[in-house]
Structures are given as C-alpha cells and as structure tokens.
Symmetry: C2
Subunit: 339 residues, 2 copies
DNA sequence: TTGAAAGCGCTAACAT
DNA sequence: ATGTTAGCGCTTTCAA
C-alpha cells in the first residue's frame, strides 16, 4: 500500500500538505493541490482509514442499527441510507440486532463502542431505556427512524394521519362497514405502529360519524399469511359482510385480497381493500395504499446525520425532527360502493 | 473514552499485558488475565478499532459487496452473513454497487482500498475483468457467492442440477407438456443463472426422452409480474395447454400461479407449478420449489472468510470452493398428472 | 501557504 | 510471564 510519504515525496511537498490538499481542510495553493492530486492519482494512493481515524477522530463511517435485514421495509430503508452515504464518501457498517439477549447487549456494550463510527442511524427499533442510554453515552449524533423514542432525534411518519387518510379514502367512496385488520381493539400497550394505525382508523370513522364495529376487527401479525387468515375469518363469519377492508400494512392487505378472491368475492366490485406502506408488490397487485416512501426515509436519515456531522458546531442535530411525507396511492383495489 | 493506559494502571500491569490479555495473543497468566478483564469491565473499556487496526493491520471488519439491498435474495444472504460475523465479533461494512458507472468504479478505486476491511464477500455480482483485478490486488481473502468468476474463490449452487431436479420432479409426476418461464431458448450469452437453469431444464427433459417444445418457452425477467405476464401469454395461446410450468425462480412461479388462477385453472389439479429459490413467500403460496438456502449461503461465506483469516498461514482460502446444498421442497402446487 | 514535529491509542518485537 | 519501546500512517498544532 502506498503511503502519504510517497505521495509527499513524489509531489515535492510535506505530508502535512498532502493531508491538507486531499482532505480539503486548511489552505493549500491551487497549484500545489493540483500537484498533490495528480501525484496521489498516479500512485494510486488512498488514505488509510485507520490512520486517518486515529489521528483525526473522524471515521467517515456511519453505523446502522436494525432489527431485521431480510424484511422489505428495513432493507429498503437501508438501501436509501446506503446510496445517500456512499454519494458523500461514507462507509456504512451494519448492526443487526438479533433476538438473542446477550448478542443484542454486545452491540451496545462492545460493537458500537469501538469508535468505528461517526454517527448512528437506528431504524424502527424499540430500544430499552438502558439501550437508549448507551446510545446517548456514545456522544455521537444519533438519528432514529420511526421509533417511539422521545429521547432520540427521530424522523417519523405520522402513523395516525396515515391510517386516517386511508380510512377516509374508503369512507369517501361510500363505505361504512369497514373491517380492520391489524391491531385488535383492546390491544393497547404501546406497540406503536399497530396501535397508532388503529387509532387513525377509528379517528376517521369518528370524524365521519361512523360507529366502530367490534365484530369487524381481526388481529393479525403484519404478514401476508396473517392478513390472509384474518380475512378468511372475517369473511367467513355469517354476520353482515364488510364492504371494505382496511389492512394496517400492505402485506396484510395483499393477503386479504387473496383471501377475498379465494372466497369468490371480486375486488374491488364486491369488496374494497386498502393497505399502508408502499410495498414493492403493491404495484403488481394494483393495491391502493398510503405510501410512506421508505427509500426516501433512509435518504433523509442519512442526510440528517451528515448535516449534523458537517455542521459548524459539529454533532448538533439542528432543527426539530421532521415529519416524513406520505401519500395516498389510488390503484384498483378500492372502488365506490354501489348501492 | 477510557484508554488502555487507564486499564493498565487500574490493573497494575503494562499496556502490553492489557493488550495481550484482552486479545488473547501471547501468554498471560490466568490471574493477570482475570485482573485485567475485571479492570476493563469495570472501567467500561473497549479497544479502539482504529488504533488497534493501525498497529496490528487487522480490522475485525468484513466488506460485503452486493448489487441490490432491497431484494429478497440479497438481503437474506446478507442476513446470514451478518449473524455469522457478529457471533465472531466482526463488523460488516456494506458496499452496495450502484448502476452508476462512476460510483461503481469508486467502490473499487477508493472505498475498498481504505484498508477498512480484512476480507470481502461478493454476493452474486457479475464483475468486470478490471474489477476482479482490483479485488485481487487488495491482497485480502475474497469469497464470492454464486458468481460465475473463475478467478475468485466461489461458493455456488449447481444451478444446472437444481433446475434438473425441479424438472425431474415434474416428469416423475407424469408431466410431459412442461412450459419454461425464464430464459428464452435462443438466449445464450452467459447471463449465468437464467441460462444454467434453462440448460438443467432441458437436460432433464432429454434424459427422460421428452422433446423440448419451443412453443412452451416464455422469457421473463425473474419478477412476479414478469412471471404473471409470461404465464398469461403462455396459457392464453390457443395451442395445446401445458400441464406443468417450470419457472426459473419462485417469484416468477408465484406470478404464474396467480395468472393460472386468474384464468380459471386450478393449481395443481389443472396445472402444476414449480419454482426455484426457497423464497420466503413460497410457504404462504404452498409453492413446490428447490430451496437453495440463502441464509445458509451467507453463513458459509462468512465462515469461509473467517477461516481464511484465522488460518495458520493467514489469507489462504483452503480447500476447493464448496458446492452449496439445495433441496426439493414439495408443497401443494404440483400434483400427479391425471389421465 | 507550507513544514516540522508531536501525538492519536494501540500492538509486537525484543528484553528480561 | 511481563515490561519497554518503537512504530503503525495519518492529522494538527505551532512556527515560519
């Protein structure tokens, strides 16, 4: 590996000047900079990250904390983060929180404390108080996405408003008998997303003067299979059939869609289905949904971290944690209720 | 951040001893080790990765090169890698190769050359000759998964055998009019996976003395939508309908399944469908498939890299690049052809 | 604008 | 088994 000394010798300057020219910190004359850059290029020199980090305290590396890698939402957010960081020359190191207590603890006790990262992005994880504390002790900028954590700078989508929007769409189409697949009505420990989406659903109904129908709730686990089974139960019951289904996630909505078809109901003629998320499969299934742009969430988080890092008084996350955008995407699984 | 000196002082030993005790390199008496460990623990000391890397040349970090993050296969393999590496105390940094020429080049010219990693795992990427060269110049252990690259130590599934197995399953059930969704028959530039899977398909037919039927090939792009449309074209044609569909990926198989149903054909009574991959949705759709265990692929790759790193003569990938396992999973989308 | 030199926090010879 | 010490390859004062 070619080192900074060789570049310095080749360009006829000191190593300090090479460092300044290549990093852009400190003043260097244009001609010197050009000479150094060309020397570096022709020697194939790349700054050693460990030497640079040790000397400067900056790593050009961001840690990303997430609970699952093999799940559409997380990997999409991650993809957004990766592209934004790479554009700005940052590396990204992954901390996949496993279910295993000990391993999970080791992320906070060891991995994150190796001084390998300049900041961390935490994607939708429910952090314990101690874990949040550990994160803050790192004394690094931390940006959370969508977590319910008041002690962290958090970028989040207003889940209540999102669910409300989806429900209003159904109500606007004339539906009144609307089923809810997701959280059960009693279920009220703050398991965040399910609960907020249920509250948004109920808010929309209340605003429209539509009474809630306990018989039209079906709890499900946010998977396609869960949505399928919930819809089977729901539509299999003798009671009055709902004319629309609000599913608290796209995967459940797709499951519900498939279940409806399997039972011989046409979507959207016999029954409308709306989801939430903007899942990649939504397009294929022509699913009406509220998109929350996960790719964009990742990019926003990356930008927020980098802004904090490169701000004049570094380390400070400026401004208030923004609300993330969302948008109703009307496709072909919802239709006006025909009398 | 507490440093090694404080631990040394606290434990009443030199920094060298602390280093030895904590890293396990070099001999330290049990009692000293215990004292050092407890000092480190009570002070909350964690080795600084940059200082350690600079001094030792080891980073405890593996780079992972992949083309997509938001795709089931890649994120599943990545998940396997992450868990295996984390178990052994390694970090993982992500290099997501974008389509952008310049950015892609920068991964090889800059990112990977920062000496941030001890080794790299490349997941199913088609690398140019120059890129392969750059990788080898790194002089680090490199493990590829499923790429067609003779110059790299590669862990791969025998795609031909996999396709053959799936096809034999269909033939064994009595099917003869078997459609192929995936590569087109002429399409023979080595776009690796599609081509090999087509060849395995044809091999199985040939072995069973079943002539290939050019009219039963439908090219598709390995997405659910592509599989859906291919099946629609296939089944919509007036000619004799196939009794089974071989889809070269599970996503296409699911698309084909949905298309069949949409056209009023029952699966598997009217038509059998088999896929390849072991996709997470296969379970839900009761899809018969050949699983190639992507999670396991990631774990194997991680183990191979770590073995190379920790081998006596470090850096050497021992043994021949193993073949990865696969397995026919019979579910409910295939059935015996009834006369 | 540039250079000299003192570290950054560890590890690994080399001694003992 | 342990300590002393010389770097590892940069960045950043400080001085010129």
């Amino acid at each position: 590996m070619v080192s900074i000394d060789e570049v310095a010798r080749f360009a006829g300057v000191s190593t300090a000047t090479v460092s300044r020219a290549l990093s852009g910190r400190g003043h260097v004359s244009d001609s010197t900079r050009a000479r150094v850059e060309s020397a570096a290029r022709s020697l194939g020199y790349v700054v050693s990250s460990s030497a640079s980090s040790l000397a400067s305290g900056r790593t050009r590396n961001i840690g990303v904390l997430l609970p699952y890698l093999d799940s559409w939402f997380f990997s999409t957010v991650l993809s957004g983060i990766a592209s934004a960081l790479m554009r700005r020359g940052y590396d990204i190191t992954l901390y996949n929180l496993s279910a295993d207590r000990v391993q999970r603890a080791s992320v906070f006790e060891t991995f994150l404390r190796r001084q390998r990262v300049d900041g961390v992005i935490a994607i939708s994880i429910e952090l314990g108080a101690d874990e949040t504390g550990r994160l803050r002790e790192l004394d690094l900028p931390i940006v959370a996405i969508g977590g319910p954590n008041p002690r962290l700078f958090t970028l989040s989508v207003d889940q209540l408003a999102v669910a409300q929007l989806a429900t209003e769409h159904l109500i606007g189409l004339g539906h009144r008998a609307i089923a809810h697949i997701g959280a059960s009505p009693e279920f009220d420990i703050d398991f965040h997303i399910p609960t907020h989406r249920r509250q948004g659903f109920e808010q929309a109904l209340a605003d429209a003067g539509v009474p809630t129908r306990p018989d039209l709730y079906e709890p499900a686990d946010f998977t396609m299979d869960g949505g399928f089974r919930a819809a089977m139960r729901l539509l299999g019951r003798a009671a009055e059939r709902p004319t629309a289904i609000f599913a608290a996630s796209d995967e459940m909505a797709i499951g519900a869609l498939l279940a409806s078809r399997e039972l011989g109901h046409r979507v959207p003629e016999d029954i409308s289905v709306v989801g939430i998320d903007g899942h990649e499969l939504g397009e294929f299934f022509r699913l009406t949904t509220v998109d929350q742009f996960p790719l964009g969430q990742g990019e926003r988080a990356a930008d927020a971290i980098l802004d904090a890092l490169e701000a004049p008084r570094s380390g400070a996350l400026r401004e208030e944690p923004g609300q993330l955008p969302y948008e109703l995407i009307v496709r072909e699984t919802t239709a006006r209720l025909e009398p």
